[in-house]
Subunit: 202 residues, 2 copies
DNA sequence: GTCTATACCCCGATAGAC
DNA sequence: GTCTATCGGGGTATAGAC
């Protein structure tokens, strides 16, 4: 990561994404981006003529595919969808711990700061959440999981949202506990929707 | 709200809290605060000699007690703890809708922006989440709820975290659906921990 | 595409009169 | 406690040589 072999444009986007993850949109200056990416300030404007807003959107799209890879890895680690929830939570804990609790969701801070002012960024955030949610829903809908279509859709919402909130709390308290609990609860919730003779409905 | 009969200091804190809720910490300028609160810039520094950081912490503490009132109202609306989850989600939807989807969690944006840089603010955020979580846990532990001590503690974590994430998604998508789903799922989860002869365990 | 230099503005914070 | 004025710095963005 932060590879020197990357092209200039990619290095700018990657650096922006990481800085906005930790400091948000308003808290990240273009000068800081150019310095940490070891790129001339004018190069940033060369690749992103529309300035910070365009750069912010590119950073969100970058974070989108990057985190989608992590999510896919967690989903592929087990056949059981409930177990996959625990695995995802543990993966997030590992990433957080390895970054001294700094690298949480890469787009949440930016999303909240700009929600009231920059609709283009809000749209990019909405697209990203939708993408991640689809990856979860696909896993829950897989044959053998035994979860109805509508249930899978709703569950995917709560899975993403619970992980999102638990990751925030984990960051603030510098503890993996919120995510551990979230993983267990999500597994239990997913299991409760599996169709079969041994389950009892609510 | 935004009452003219408030003292100068209170008006500053309240305005700061609302602006940081919508724009985050870095996105909110002290000049904007003084203007919207109809207060001289020097008055802000008169009441908060340590500047923006001190003001930010005061705004978080203000948001703490303000949202705790909302939470208590929702908890008191029904005896059944599972129903209380649905009621809370609906209350959040109402607040969001009434503010054109702008007023979500008042401290999340500030928390994320400053997590890597201002430990004092991070501490105030942690205290606030802890306070809110206690309000939930107390409801779940109430006699008649039939939830074990340890389960109530864990559930309170996930309740806060799920609502937090669902509110974020609701803001971004300008839709109450994520919170509606969250309310239903949390109710189901809480119910699954109630002790009694008719429940089956996982 | 990258360099240096800079315009222009707003930021947080302070000074001193009243 | 509130007023006006201002300082020093850093923000976004641009110009023009190379």
């Amino acid at each position: 990561m932060t590879d020197t072999a990357l092209g200039t444009r990619d290095r700018i986007v990657q650096t922006t994404s990481r800085l906005m993850q930790r400091q948000g949109y308003e808290g990240t200056a273009i000068k800081q981006i150019s310095q940490e990416a070891r790129v001339a300030l004018s190069s940033v404007y060369h690749f992103f003529p529309n300035g910070k807003q365009e750069l912010g959107i590119a950073a969100i799209r970058h974070a989108d595919v990057e985190f989608a890879d992590i999510l896919r890895e967690a989903m592929a680690s087990t056949d059981d969808p409930a177990e996959a929830m625990v695995a995802t939570a543990e993966l997030l804990i590992t990433h957080l711990r390895n970054s001294d609790w700094l690298d949480g969701c890469p787009i949440t801070a930016t999303a909240l700061e700009t929600a009231s002012r920059i609709p283009e960024i809000q749209q990019a955030v909405a697209d990203t959440f939708d993408h991640w949610r689809t990856l979860i829903a696909d896993k829950l809908r897989a044959e053998g999981a035994g979860i109805a279509e509508q249930d899978a859709h709703d569950l995917a919402h709560t899975v993403i949202n619970t992980l999102e909130g638990a990751e925030l709390t984990a960051q603030v308290t510098r503890s993996g506990e919120p995510l551990e609990i979230a993983g267990r609860h999500l597994a239990r919730l997913v299991d409760s929707y599996r169709q079969g003779p041994t389950r009892c409905d609510r």
